[in-house]
């Protein structure tokens, strides 16, 4: 497996390798195939997420997209982010979504009707137009694609990201931990409802 990834220019060579891995003739093709595979899966996952009427399927589509993007991260020499992506997104966030969907049961799926169709689809059409404009711009520059240069052997590793996180980015890092704490406390406070409500229910149970 590692060998394959090496061929795909996904993982840098062994730490003691003095020179970058030579590009094999079939390398670009392998790389494009890998990218295309992941990209198609990601788009399919995304469409499944937003389009499926059943939220469970949506969550599964989200999972598919997340894992495909993690694969793309690997191709981009971002091993640490790829790992985080799988652990946090696939492992925590999607599971959280699933929990909530299970909790709501059949109520999680909402019946569709035509109310508010004009603003919804109008806005979506405008947004799609904007996206098309952006893609057009991208397409006009695609003629001269920029090939990324070589990277150092430790680019994107846990080591180097960790160094940045705990030196230059220490303050944002600490603030993000505070943010998570606040989010957890806030989530609990919002989800459990008012004290009176609980006490009332308790009284009713008795």
């Amino acid at each position: 497996m590692l060998n394959l990834l090496l061929l795909l220019d996904i993982v840098p060579g062994p730490a003691n390798a003095a020179t970058p891995v030579p590009e094999t003739p079939q390398g670009p093709w392998m790389g494009f195939a890998y990218f295309g595979f992941c990209a198609v899966l990601a788009v399919v996952g995304a469409i499944a997420t937003v389009a499926s009427p059943n939220p469970i399927r949506g969550a599964m589509g989200l999972l598919l997209m997340i894992i495909s993007i993690a694969g793309l991260f690997l191709a981009l020499h971002a091993q640490f982010i790829a790992a985080i992506q799988v652990i946090v997104y696939a492992g925590a966030i999607v599971v959280l979504f699933l929990f909530v969907i299970m909790l709501l049961g059949s109520d999680a799926q909402t019946p569709s009707d035509q109310r508010g169709r004009i603003p919804r689809f109008g806005a979506a059409a405008l947004f799609a137009g904007l996206g098309l404009a952006a893609l057009t711009l991208l397409g006009r520059t695609m003629a001269k694609p920029k090939l990324p240069g070589d990277v150092g052997s430790d680019f994107g590793s846990i080591d180097s990201i960790g160094k940045v996180l705990f030196t230059d980015m220490l303050v944002p890092f600490e603030i993000s931990s505070a943010l998570l704490i606040v989010a957890v406390v806030g989530a609990i406070a919002v989800a459990r409802g008012k004290h009176g409500e609980l006490a009332e229910k308790g009284a009713l149970n008795k």
Binding site: G116, P119, A123, L126, L130, A133
Partner: protein, 869 residues
């Protein structure tokens, strides 16, 4: 002392910081935590703060004395710069520093000692006097803050810092006059004092502006150094009075334009502005009206602020800036005349008042008038000496009056009645300490020979009689004119005004008259209060039933809690029932009285003007000489044969004392007050007029206040009609209508909000998709121009000059700037094509016209369009 100076060098004498910080700390602690601390802690804090300040002030004074001795004879200053405060820009862009800098010299040293010393005694007195007040902590917070502000005023080394202290004492005065704000009258009195002082402050601020402009400095040394430029013969550099500021009246107002503008020297303008400030703070005509009303505050406040310290700030200011005042003899004469007139007017009012504190208040106004008379006639030392002695005897008199009121409060709870001298009498027997200290202070104020007041008042009157004011720059300036001429005749700026020689003599006799009246009314106060029979209530053992009530009141009596409006209504006692006689005040109140009386009796030894012939030294005169020497030398001349007039003047002053006291004795003791009644009945209108204080308040009410009221009414109606009625309602209506429309958009549905966000986003996207051909023309001179196109993401440009061949293939490779040469008078057209990253092209045509003469190029934008590529 040398060791002290080694710790605190004279250039960085930070001990001043301790003098200032201690009362400020006291005010802070008492103000913030006082309510919780309890009375004992508040008292300890307040008195300790002032005691520390007094101790540091004593050390400072000793150090100053040592420095003076070291330096020989000269103006010595101990200074401390706390920090650089701010800078202001003077004439021709000079930076004038205003440092937070404090200094102490001979003058401020004496003031500092008086403030902290008398302040300490009055704090001790008040700690008992105010004991039962529920706002004890608030009182001492204000009182400490007052001492701090007064010290800032005195120790400040520049005008703005003095102004800070000046405003600080004004604030504290306002807060303390209205201390029992529950009573409407007290609150009104506080407001009156505050507003009268604000009018004076206007003068002080104007003086600061003039100092910045003319002397280019605001600190004392700088003002003194630059004071030469305050007097000029050049009309352009003088202060234009009419037209104000040297303007020109044109058009139909032309008739207002005089042939030559009326100008006064800057020294006169500054002097008048400072005088306005001084009359406000020191309660002189025309702004004296607030001081009698200020007696609504607690008695210790009257003693400290409205007798001993704050009201002398005006005299301090004039003494401090004596070198400015002597440059304008006309202003000096005005000071003296105002002082004499105030002394006389206030004395006439004091003759007939029945409220003991009111008499003392008018007496204070009158004595302040004496001080103004002294400094106005160039007798700075004498005037300041009167400040010094007056601080002791008037503080003692007020505290004595407080003690009497304290005693009367045993059974009379109404404020006005407890202070009414007609209810007193015979208190000598019941309050012996109060009586003796009061008597000694009265002796001082009426000029009983060899008491402090005798020496100081005698010195003022003697100097008034024997000096004349001259212009220091007489030789340089040219011709002198009389007063009338100076107003209407010669407007030649090189002419100057000098007061006539008879001014001093005339003012002397006014002063003698005021002194006679002073002797009379002060003797009247003593006789009515302490002699004869007690008239307050029936004396004797209270009956069994009343004893209970009396005991109940014994707890509350002396609380001075009259204005303490806690909803409790003081029911009046039946004064015909017998009750215990008033009794002497407790020791913390009598000890300050005794100390002040001692000073009132013996402080004259510091400057016994008359006794110098017997070989006694004049320490105060010698001490203050370096400050006033120069000014007195140039601005004041002794008349011919002045030495010989000394005995005559003293005889006059003594005569005033003898006549006044003798008359009072005859009227109120021998004849039992009968002549007073006869006189009042003989001239009822005059009596009523005096009793109503010359109806000055009513006159102000009718003239100034009604004018202001009318203005306020007009403004109110405009505000209600135009601003509220039209403007406010119209805008409100507009907003409401707009809101009604917008409310429809607020559906509460998240999707609609998100859709609106997308609409905004689309607008932004449109902006980026469309090219923006735009630019501006930069003139390079001599017919060269450059058109600079606005930048944008991925923009490419093509420039085409009018008439130039269009290239076969459009290549958007041009630079953002296009150089252009246009001959004068010609016009050239340039077309700009812009292509953005989306490949959309926009066009714009510039037309550049070079003017025949040197004028900015005219650019006409011909039109603009965009088309897809």
């Amino acid at each position: 002392m040398d060791s002290l100076l080694s710790v605190f060098p004279s250039k960085d004498f930070s001990l001043l910081g301790i003098i200032l910080a201690a009362p400020l700390l006291g005010a802070f602690v008492n103000g913030v935590w006082g309510r919780r601390l309890g009375r004992d802690a508040v008292r300890l804090m307040a008195i300790t703060a002032i005691a520390v300040s007094f101790g540091a002030a004593l050390l400072t004074f000793l150090a100053l004395d040592r420095e003076v001795t070291h330096a020989g004879h000269g103006h010595v200053k101990l200074a401390w710069t706390a920090w650089d405060w701010l800078y202001t820009t003077g004439k021709s862009e000079t930076q004038i520093p205003i440092a937070l800098r404090f200094s102490v010299d001979a003058l401020s040293g004496v003031m500092m000692l008086v403030i902290t010393g008398v302040g300490l005694l009055i704090h001790i007195y008040a700690s008992t006097y105010m004991w039962d007040d529920k706002s004890y902590w608030r009182f001492f917070c204000y009182l400490n803050l007052f001492v701090f502000s007064m010290l800032v005023l005195v120790l400040g080394d520049n005008m703005p810092l003095l102004f800070v202290g000046w405003e600080g004492v004004g604030l504290c005065s306002y807060l303390l006059i209205g201390f029992w704000y529950g009573k409407m009258a007290n609150a009104a009195a506080g407001k009156k004092a505050f507003i009268a002082n604000r009018i004076g402050d206007f003068g002080l601020i104007c003086a600061m502006f003039l100092f910045v402009h003319y002397t280019g400095a605001l600190d004392w040394n700088g003002i003194e150094a630059g004071s030469g430029s305050l007097v000029t013969v050049n009309e352009a550099t003088q202060v234009h009075v009419w037209p104000i500021g040297g303007g020109q009246f044109t058009g139909f107002l032309k008739f207002l334009q005089p042939d030559s503008p009326i100008t006064i020297t800057a020294a006169t303008a500054v002097g008048l502005a400072l005088l306005l400030g001084a009359t406000g703070k020191s309660a002189q005509i025309p702004l004296y009206v607030w001081l009698p009303d200020a007696m609504a505050g607690p008695t210790p406040v009257s003693a400290l602020i409205h007798a001993a310290t704050m009201v002398t700030a005006g005299i301090y200011l004039i003494c401090r800036l004596n070198f400015v005042f002597v440059l304008a003899p006309g202003v000096m004469a005005t000071v003296a005349v105002i002082g004499a007139a105030t002394a006389f007017l206030a004395a006439t009012i004091a003759l007939v008042q029945n409220d003991i504190k009111k008499v003392l208040a008018y007496s204070t106004v009158s004595q302040l008038g004496f001080m103004f008379l002294g400094v106005g006639m160039g007798a700075f030392t004498a005037g300041f000496f009167h400040v010094f002695t007056h601080a002791f005897f008037k503080a003692c008199l007020f505290l004595g009056a407080g003690s009497v009121i304290h005693g009367m409060h045993a059974r009379i709870h109404d404020d006005d009645k407890a202070q009414d001298m007609r209810k007193m009498g015979g208190l000598r027997k019941y309050m012996p300490l109060t009586f003796w200290t009061f008597l000694i202070s009265t002796a001082a104020i009426v000029g009983f020979p060899l008491t402090s007041g005798f020496f100081s008042k005698d010195e003022i009157l003697f100097k008034t009689m024997t000096t004349e004011l001259v212009h220091p720059d007489a030789e340089r300036l040219g011709k002198k004119v009389t007063f009338v001429q100076s107003l209407w005749g010669a407007r030649d700026p090189s002419h100057f005004y000098v007061p006539p020689a008879w001014l001093g003599t005339a003012l002397y006799w006014v002063g003698i008259a005021a002194a006679t009246m002073t002797a009379f009314y002060m003797s009247r106060v003593v006789i009515l209060t302490f002699f004869g029979e007690f008239r307050g209530w029936k004396l004797g053992r209270p009956s069994q039933i009343d004893a209970h009530e009396a005991a109940a009141h014994d707890d509350a009596h002396g609380d001075d809690a009259h204005g303490d409006d806690d909803g409790e209504h003081h029911h009046e006692e039946d004064l015909t029932k017998p009750g215990y006689a008033p009794h002497e005040s407790p020791r913390p109140m009598t000890i300050p009285l005794i100390l002040l009386a001692v000073f009132a009796a013996f402080a004259g030894i510091l400057n016994p003007g008359l006794l110098k012939h017997f070989g006694l030294p004049l320490p105060l005169e010698h001490w203050l000489e370096p400050l006033f020497e120069e000014s007195v030398k140039v601005g004041v001349h002794a008349k011919e044969g002045a030495e010989h007039m000394e005995l005559m003047c003293t005889a006059g002053a003594f005569g005033a004392f003898a006549v006044g006291v003798g008359l009072a004795y005859w009227v109120y003791v021998v004849q039992k007050g009968a002549p007073a009644k006869q006189w009042a009945e003989a001239a009822p209108k005059l009596y009523k007029l005096l009793l109503d204080k010359w109806r000055v308040d009513e006159a102000y009410e009718a003239s100034v206040l009604s004018g202001v009221d009318a203005l306020a009414d007009t403004a109110t109606s405009v505000d209600k009609g135009v601003v509220d009625g039209i403007l406010a309602r119209l805008t409100a209506l507009l907003v409401a209508a707009f809101g009604t429309i917008l409310r429809a958009l607020q559906t509460g549905v998240v999707h609609v909000y998100a859709g609106m966000m997308v609409v905004g986003l689309a607008g932004l996207g449109w902006f980026f998709v469309m090219p923006h051909p735009d630019g501006h023309v930069v003139e390079k001179g001599s017919g060269d121009y450059s058109i600079v196109a606005a930048p944008g993401v991925g923009y490419g440009y093509i420039w085409a000059e009018d008439g130039a061949k269009k290239p076969e293939k459009e290549v958007f490779s041009g630079t953002a700037a296009f150089p252009l040469h246009v001959e004068p008078g010609n016009t050239k057209k340039v077309e700009l094509k812009v292509r953005n990253a989306f490949g959309i092209v926009g066009t714009k045509t510039f037309e550049v016209t070079a003017p025949a003469k040197a004028a900015p190029a005219e650019v006409i934008e011909m039109g603009q369009n965009g088309h897809g590529s």
